[in-house]
Symmetry: C2
């Protein structure tokens, strides 16, 4: 099977990009959409993010064989309940949320007995809102699909195919493993970046203007991450707290070791860590998930992503 009508609920960065990408890559597939914010609906309609805009979630999902919820993780349950009256019996419900155990539970509670196949495209920018979306966001990026054990294989295959058609590389894993992988590769880096940028803003010894002036020494790379959407990230930490705390405690233990090395002047321990981490960078570049070019290859994914 393949999907013929995709409804998108939530038309910000990710929802808008999904809508544009489907229209570009799968012109035969109908798209409809809804956002709870009337102003976003108007702007999204003007931008043509979906083929048909609706004034209610139930109307937007009527006739759709796939619904993709593109709302913040904490709003998934509400959004699912809102659309339930319009949902066809055979529709597949998916999403794009950045944490998967909590979202799966919320969707299953809101839509008992439905075919729910959660997903998470590992692609984004620190911008949000309908104007931030672009059709090439998912190109050469990973999309993780976390099918529950009882998900029908043909529906899973159709969802894999859809994301591949949008340019993504797909990997399937269970939701709990997803949450652990993302805690390391995304959630902890964001938490750390937010925290250090906060620390630097509050110092008495060093002024904020000095921090800004001399940020080229490494700090500015953290500020880019720490400019990500606050609502989305609050929801991620509220909804993936177990995996995040587990990984955070690993990081804190390792940082305590490095603190000890610095206070004892143990240059060898520092040198060993600093040498080891270089090879990870090389693997990421070799694997095409970053790039040695000055724009880190971001140009490949289309529009300015900073």
């Amino acid at each position: 099977m393949s999907f013929t009508h995709v409804a998108i609920i939530g038309l910000g960065l990710i929802g808008g990009s999904v809508g544009l990408a489907i229209q570009q890559h799968l012109p035969g597939v109908r798209t409809s959409g809804f956002d709870r914010d009337p102003d976003v609906r108007r702007r999204a309609a003007d931008l043509g993010l979906v083929g048909q805009m609706h004034d209610s979630a139930a109307a937007a999902v009527a006739g759709a064989d796939l619904v993709i919820l593109c709302v913040p993780v904490g709003a998934m349950g509400t959004a699912a309940r809102d659309m339930a009256p319009g949902l066809g019996a055979d529709a597949v419900i998916s999403d794009v949320g950045g944490s998967k155990v909590a979202v799966t539970q919320a969707l299953q509670a809101a839509l008992p007995g439905r075919c729910i196949i959660p997903a998470h495209p590992v692609a984004g920018t620190e911008n949000s809102g309908p104007e931030a979306g672009f059709a090439t966001l998912f190109r050469q990026r990973w999309c993780i699909i976390t099918p529950p054990a009882d998900a029908p294989a043909d529906r899973v295959a159709a969802l894999v195919k859809l994301w591949e058609d949008l340019g993504a590389m797909v990997e399937c894993m269970d939701a709990a493993h997803h949450d652990m992988v993302l805690a390391v590769t995304s959630h902890i880096p964001h938490l750390i970046a937010y925290t250090i940028v906060g620390t630097a803003s509050d110092l008495e010894q060093v002024t904020r203007s000095e921090v800004i002036k001399f940020s080229a020494g490494g700090f500015r790379d953290f500020t880019r991450i720490a400019a990500s959407d606050p609502t989305m990230w609050r929801d991620v930490f509220l909804n993936n707290s177990d995996a995040v705390l587990e990984m955070l405690d690993r990081f804190l233990a390792d940082l305590a070791v490095m603190r000890g090395a610095i206070s004892e002047g143990d240059g060898q321990a520092m040198f060993d860590l600093f040498s080891r981490t270089r090879s990870v960078r090389r693997s990421i570049v070799a694997f095409g998930q970053d790039d040695a070019r000055p724009d880190f290859g971001r140009g490949d994914h289309g529009k300015d992503q900073n």
Copy 2:
């Protein structure tokens, strides 16, 4: 006064870039150089990093009115002692080291009674070695000069002028303040990046190949920093340990607060921090120290810096 002959000791990324930048921007100024590694000397000569290459530090500094030590922070004392026999009585001795209290002490101990004016161009890449240098590295970047209280004003002014001629913006401050500013804007970000990349490489629950695959969610921005030169960074932490430990403890305290917010589900505390940090990013972009373009404006500084 202005300098007419600049000797550069250590011809890696920074020394090579200084040599190329002087030749490009100040064609009337003589440049001579030395590196302790014969192979680096050969490669640097082939690349034309300085006008005249020498086989000893003493020969390289003979006749120079300015010597810039571009060796790792931990090698400053040795490099200064090696060149002492060739040093003219009125020569100004400067450097480019990333920590300033320790380097100033090392230089003053090695060259008592000499005119020592330390400096630190806040510009770099994670590459090292003579091939990594390029003439535009310092353009639109800050250079911090830390003149001791008794440094003659005309020599300080000449050094300021030299760095401005190479395209840098110059700020003077005392060495201890420099070390605190750099601990926040550079050293702690590097320590954190090295540590989290190390943590992620050592997990049992998540494979290294998963970390690499899904790094686009934030992690890859840390790996770029964590690919910086191990020797240089070991030396930075050995030589700026007081300021680094002070700032690290501030960061750890703030991170403990965020850990508490996550484990208690305090979404408001998260939202407040995550909103506050956005404005720092905007200031950095507004201040021209980073950029909203896809290459972060790295193209402005010439060659590929990744």
